[in-house]
Amino acid sequence: MIKALFKKQMIEVFSYLFMANKKKTRRTGKALVCALALYGVLFAYLCVMLFFMAKFLCETLVPLGLTWFYFAIMALMSLVMGIIGSVFNTYATLYLAKDNDTLLAMPIPPRYILFARLAGVYVSGLFFELLVMLPATVAWFMYGEPTVLGAIFAVLLPFVLSFFVLSLSCLLGLLVAAVATRIRHKSLVITLLSLGFLGLYFWGYSKLMSSLGDLLTVAGDIAEKVKGPLFLFYHMGRAAEGNGLSMLIFTSIVLGIFLAILFPLSRSFLTLATTNRGAARKAYRRARTAQRSALKALLVRELKHFLASHVYMINCGLGVLMLPIMGIMLLIFKDDVQTMLPLLEALCKNADTVYLLFAAMACMMMSMIYITAPSVSLEGKHIWIVQSLPIEPRKVLYAKLLMHLVIAVPAALVAAVCLLIVISPSLPFLLLIPLAMLLFLLLEALFGLFMNLKFPNLNWTNEAVPVKQSMSVLVSLFGGWAMTVALGALYVPLHGHVSPALYLVLVCAVLLGLCAALFQWIRSKGAEIFATL
């Protein structure tokens, strides 16, 4: 029985890989190879990027005898990835799955259902966690001095560590579920709670990372200082060195924490999964509503969906929050940034090149906004509504694009204004930086929609599946970063031949061209695909 449940959960987790959702059939042959290759390339690309950082840290810390500190840093980074990968969908996966009622009506002990659901969360977290731990382990094998036992432990550690990610995710899931059954503005509160949790984690993480600046000179002192607070990761690192006792301590603590959380989780699962005390009943007051145009009605529909789903908001719209925060932080630390500018200018050998760097950073941040990427999949079983109503399919797609822009453009503008105040660039950059940012934002919206039309998934049991575990979302998120890196890298050979301002003009032209091409595809071919989903 439990095997069947696990199988069902894994099919759901990996549905984006094996299911050609447009036709609701399994991918076989070439299609499967292509999907695996695409994900493989994406995974490898991210691993390679992180490998260079791991290599640097490994080469710095291992000769100082601080192997444990190297693993502690990498583990903390992987926790960030794992948490991003799983923490926000735990509540939805455990308690809001559409098949909860069906499964609970079957002769299955509720704890089996819970275990199967937890397996899904574990695998999601592990996938993201491995993006860091895999290159970290490879770097350790290449540039460290692993013993045989250390090598075996190093391979096993990410799988144990993922239980820690699972524990943190469950803790938040439990907290959210306890609150969510009693409140009216569920999505808003869950979003704030989740962001608070994330903020707290990042605060602790940034505190640690800020110490890394002095690492080369005082790494030993820092390691000694943080050994106590990072007791768990100290033993993780020692285990990688081949210390059996540390492996035992690390595994015992992680599994102990997991079991301690599992106990209340297991006891409350049935109650929380079936309770909807919800909000107090809202009285209906008759009021005449103004007539809207079809496009406006569709836009309002999209916005309502976005604002009603904490999974959607947190995962796809985190950048909307980060952009103004980044802008305000720049204003707060204006003096520090301005002190840094001459150093950066000297480093770049050209004052204007620094502006390109800032524009690239802003684009990196905007890649975290991918609201359109799951928007087609999120139509789910409701898709019959727009398909049966007299609406042109392309208008539905326009509304999705508009939603992305309505939500993201104000945030981008706030960030752009703050950035421009702080760096006070010359006139061409004053115009080009915001233009490049807005074009990048538009490209992200179009690219997300394009990917989702290419890889739609209308069959899911909770919204976390299309929002987190889908090809379109992963490619949109990492594609934005890849695009920024590619545009940045392209400047290196042109440096000296093309002025930064001209280069930014060329970037804007490329972005505009890509936007035009994608828009044309969406309004013709994309609309055709949407109509036949």
Partner: protein, 236 residues
């Protein structure tokens, strides 16, 4: 009002609907019956422009669903067998959304919404999110949304499933009233007694093929619709 001509729809190798032809006039109620998997839902979804079909033609008041789907959709309303509505909207939000799409003006929609929600006893729940609705309440909301633009063709897939006896009775009354005003109604059902009492026409589908269609009295003759249906099911 509805003219289906040689409709064929395939899923891969399998013909879900095979050369189906059917005509329904203004003011007629036609029941569409058949066993599970016979092709009823596929045919209905093709009529509503949700599914593209492989061959044949469908006309709604002379407008081709294939050539001008938007114009055809403006004339019809569709109620699915399982009303998966937007959980993130309130009842009144959903009705206003549908009214906006059909371009029903504010005064008219206000009057219609409250006439139908009062009739189906849903007015008090209009401010609740649809997520909090029962299956029956969702079904009622889907029915009300389908009536807001006064469709000339009403297409329903198992409309009585989930409705309480009173609501089912009211829906039947509503269907009769709409027919008197000239609306054509095409609906699938497994409740043969309802079909027999309510409908002017009946179409029986099996394995994607229309095996019997015509005036109710002609099809059932001196026996019951159930007897005819069971006999046809056994024969084929």
């Amino acid at each position: 009002m509805l003219k289906i001509e040689h409709l064929t729809k395939c899923y891969g190798e399998k013909k879900a609907v095979d050369d189906l032809s059917l005509h329904i006039q203004k003011g007629e109620i036609c029941a569409f019956i058949g066993h599970n998997g016979a092709g009823k839902t596929t045919a209905i979804k093709s009529v509503c422009g949700i599914l593209r079909f492989d061959a044949g033609e469908i006309y709604i008041d002379g407008i081709s669903v294939k050539e001008d789907p938007l114009a055809a959709k403006r004339l019809l309303a569709y109620i699915p067998d399982n009303p998966d509505l937007y959980d993130f909207m309130t009842g009144i939000g959903y009705l206003n959304f549908v009214a906006d799409i059909f371009g029903v003006d504010a005064a008219l929609r206000d009057e219609r919404i409250h006439r139908f929600t009062d009739m189906l006893e849903l007015t008090a729940d209009l401010a609740q999110p649809i997520a909090a609705y029962s299956h029956g309440m969702k079904q009622k909301l889907a029915i009300i949304s389908a009536l807001l633009h006064e469709p000339r063709l009403l297409v329903m897939d198992e409309p009585f499933v989930g409705l309480d006896p009173k609501a089912a009775h009211l829906l039947k009354e509503l269907m009769r009233e709409m027919c008197r005003e000239g609306t054509a109604i095409f609906f699938s059902t497994h409740v043969l007694e309802v079909a027999e009492k309510l409908c002017d026409k009946v179409a029986i589908i099996k394995g994607g093929k229309l095996i019997r269609a015509g005036k109710m009295e002609e099809v059932k003759g001196d026996t019951s619709l159930e007897a005819v249906f069971l006999e046809l099911e056994g024969k084929q």
